[in-house]
Symmetry: C2
Subunit: 351 residues, 2 copies
Amino acid sequence: MARGRKTVTIRDVAEDAGVSLQTVSRVVNGGPNVRPQLRDKVRAAIERLGYVPSLAAQRMSGSRSYIILAINDRERTLADWRERRGTDWVDQMLLGGILTCSKHGYRMMVELIDTHSDHVERELGAAISALQPDGVILTPPHSENALITGLLTERGIPFARIGSNAPGPGIALTMGDEGAAHLATARLAELGHRRIAMVAGPAQYSLSGWRIEGWKRAMRELGLPSDGLLEAGDFGYESGTRAARALLDRNPDCTAIIASSDQMALAALEVARERGLRVPEDISLISFDNTPIVRFTQPPLTAIDQPIAETVSRAVEQLIARGPDGADDAVIEVAAALVERLSTAPAPGSA
Amino acid sequence: MARGRKTVTIRDVAEDAGVSLQTVSRVVNGGPNVRPQLRDKVRAAIERLGYVPSLAAQRMSGSRSYIILAINDRERTLADWRERRGTDWVDQMLLGGILTCSKHGYRMMVELIDTHSDHVERELGAAISALQPDGVILTPPHSENALITGLLTERGIPFARIGSNAPGPGIALTMGDEGAAHLATARLAELGHRRIAMVAGPAQYSLSGWRIEGWKRAMRELGLPSDGLLEAGDFGYESGTRAARALLDRNPDCTAIIASSDQMALAALEVARERGLRVPEDISLISFDNTPIVRFTQPPLTAIDQPIAETVSRAVEQLIARGPDGADDAVIEVAAALVERLSTAPAPGSA
DNA sequence: ACAAGTCTTGAGAACGCTAACAACATACGC
DNA sequence: GCGTATGTTGTTAGCGTTCTCAAGACTTGT
């Protein structure tokens, strides 16, 4: 077996092209002061030998590591996965991240970290020390964890916080949860609905609050009361069942529900069915997330599409563009869209 | 801003513990010949300083890179993603991989690579040169690409091929596609079905062939003819529609369909509906994959669960356990299971 | 008690790359 | 034509770790 054919190093290229190591390095990194003639010669040698710089060596020599680290919540990810709920969030994040990273010669790594306070510093610290990433992407519920943002700030590593619009340290990227909830509510009102209920997410996620805000603002603007029309779940199916039942028990006149996750919307759909309510004839449903499952339910659900991939992509681009020193704070919004399917219709008796 | 607090290196630990670099290195890597007293002293220093070895430096010094690289097909992944079909496969793979990697102090990286022959060597070669992974995990359709396995063999990098049971180079991990198809077919026969059709995957994937084999073997063992009951799709929804229509046109007496992917099963479900066939009363349906969507269709689908996460986990463990030299070939099978839901029932008119 | 081993520790080189600096060539101003 | 800015190339050191090899401290057998 032709095992272990020696790796092509920068030295081999230098030799082949008849120049010094440094010149090759300059060509590889797009250095500014190289004569075109030499540059082409070096490029030819690189091509011929199939040279690719070693990431480890680059990192060692004090330059960038070309790694972006994405932090996900271990508990949630594992629960989603174990119960085969699907982890579309991870998917979207990964794909958006990988694609954008590779466009810039970077790589993305995913790390699962416990939210528990005594673990979080150890685990994140270890990951950072081992990988020395050029940037970190934080996803909920880590996005507003002061322990984490503090650690990253202290170590001088640029980071982006997904799903947060609190103008704290680092780059905050939000999907405009307030606006999205407002959009959904307004659309339902447009269809003639007056009693529009909201199944919110857990208070631990700040986006839950923003969605409630958006819903309340829309109701207020339309002169509709929102009292008694709010329930909270934990994004999971069971909590959605509980919330939908409570909501319908309390408001028999409710004709529309906005659920803060697809799972909870699915639960609401089932609760409606168990009570003999037809969707969308008797009650309309809008969910948040727009994961693949909502296209295959009966009826397919109208949903707010979370542009997770695009958001993460933007985050990566910011991180890379700003480089090691540009950790300036910023708030960026990537707009969500309403995808209308068959779970929404004019309110019963309207028009 | 307390920017850039210096990283803790092995030198700091050595100084703190009053020993040489080498001793610390030995303790960190579980070296065999260190006196317990010293070992504890060094461990205490590591703990106190929060030392974590730099991955880049470890790699540089010629030891392992502690990185496992997973290769996915770019085209398929992007298509799945763009059309929001969901990429459950990526999910499962990633999670199974990450979890097992981190258990052993490894990391997993995902790379999307084009199947096109002129790209594949360049792209994979570049990824390998840059990352220098300790092992590579190949997923279909790369698992049996001779260009890829050749390149890896030549470079002496151990690799695992997921979804292949061809006893070629490297470790082949199969989910027992032949057995799984046999299982599904036998179960349907048990329910009284005689005309059991198969919507297979594309021939490009060898597992498609194995599934056909399993189905044919079961039919043969049961003394049932299988002629005219086979159609092939490309795993996608549209191809499933075409296949199901062709199948039902040709075999009005068909009472059961096994589809080689959830998407194609969904399509078959829709085709049945459009022809006024009730599932499962008139026709039973079994799909392959068991992604999250099949739990939420009407009715929920009986499915063969692909133990992707477990398979990848096994692959990672093999790769790590064998180390840099143990590239011995092997074939490992992780059994798939049949998850019965509501799309299967006794054949019409039976019992 | 002495030679021959084994265990334990340390010193120095090496991995592949880039930063910082030095050296040389070329251009420009007067 | 000489000094100074600017462009181009090469040289050296160092990043943090592990490997190789050597030296010292213990054993053990006779």
